[in-house]
Symmetry: C2
Subunit: 154 residues, 2 copies
DNA sequence: GAAGTTTGCTTGACCAAGCAAGCAGGGGTT
DNA sequence: AACCCCTGCTTGCTTGGTCAAGCAAACTTC
């Protein structure tokens, strides 16, 4: 965990340093900007949008709480509360899991699907404008591979 | 603000879609991972580290609250609370601004500088391991340019 | 130079997230 | 079938952030 082998203590090259300095934009400014766009536009915070979107793609429009939490990069307790919020809006329902009665499935309701469909243009526009537009002409595949590896290191 | 011109509603290409799907790693997993590393290692949250670092590079080791907030991608009130925390640890002091008595400067103390110096290896290691290592061989300069543009769009 | 406005920062109320503890339902072992 | 531990989710508490309102100093306009 806090292993800091010598290799990782090699000083940053100027290019690396510049990249690290710009990292705050992506880690802090970007999620807030996208979230603010979506809240301003459709009253749907990014976390809730992400949950709805993941559910809409799952078989039976439902997922176990723990799966959904992982898919949304949220802790399990965070997902409990997010789903509670969505439930009070009627966008999601909780259904006991058939094959394991300890488990619950979050199920996307018709209202939830409608909300998602009404909101995706806003999400798409925000993502393009705040993020994708700035990567025009770059090798998106390589970039994706790099992004996917992040947060993977144990 | 919520302008969603047609261009922004063009559907995502498969490559764009994959990139967007991997974005959560950078926006959510990455900051938590770096922060957790630093807290586990040196008991210094990333936000506080960033504030100390910015101060250490400023002339006179001091900055106006609003400058510092912007540099750390934090709201002004968020920075007020961060500086308060740092102040109670003796790492920073608040000094009235001479040329404008409404303003305050956050000043890095010697203890703050020492704390920073004892913590940077941990930050460096976390940033390399969680982030830079995954971008080996890529064009860091272009990437930096892209990152810098993010969060800029009004 | 006094009144009204704007600016810089802090404070109060609130909210979303995390962690750790709790609880309820499996599943093995005897 | 009684026990025990393990697993899946929720709950209580804390933390760290935002927004909006407040306060004090500085500008502006007359």
């Amino acid at each position: 965990m806090s292993a800091t082998p010598a290799e990782h203590l090699r000083p940053l090259s100027p290019d690396e340093e510049a990249l690290v300095r710009s990292l705050g934009r992506v880690m802090y400014a970007l999620p807030r900007a996208i979230d603010a766009d979506m809240v301003g536009d459709r009253q749907l915070p990014l976390t809730e949008y992400t949950a709805l979107m993941n559910l809409s793609e799952a078989p039976g429009r439902q997922m176990r709480m723990s799966e959904l939490a992982a898919a949304c990069h949220l802790s399990l307790s965070g997902m409990t509360r997010t789903v509670t919020r969505l439930e009070t809006q009627g966008l999601v329902e909780r259904v006991r899991c058939e094959e394991d009665a300890r488990g619950w499935n979050a199920v996307l309701t018709d209202a939830g699907l409608a909300r998602l469909q009404e909101s995706w243009p806003s999400h798409l526009a925000a993502v393009r404008r705040r993020f994708l537009d700035h990567f025009e002409g770059m090798d998106l595949v390589r970039l994706t591979q790099a992004f996917q590896r992040i947060g993977t290191t144990g």
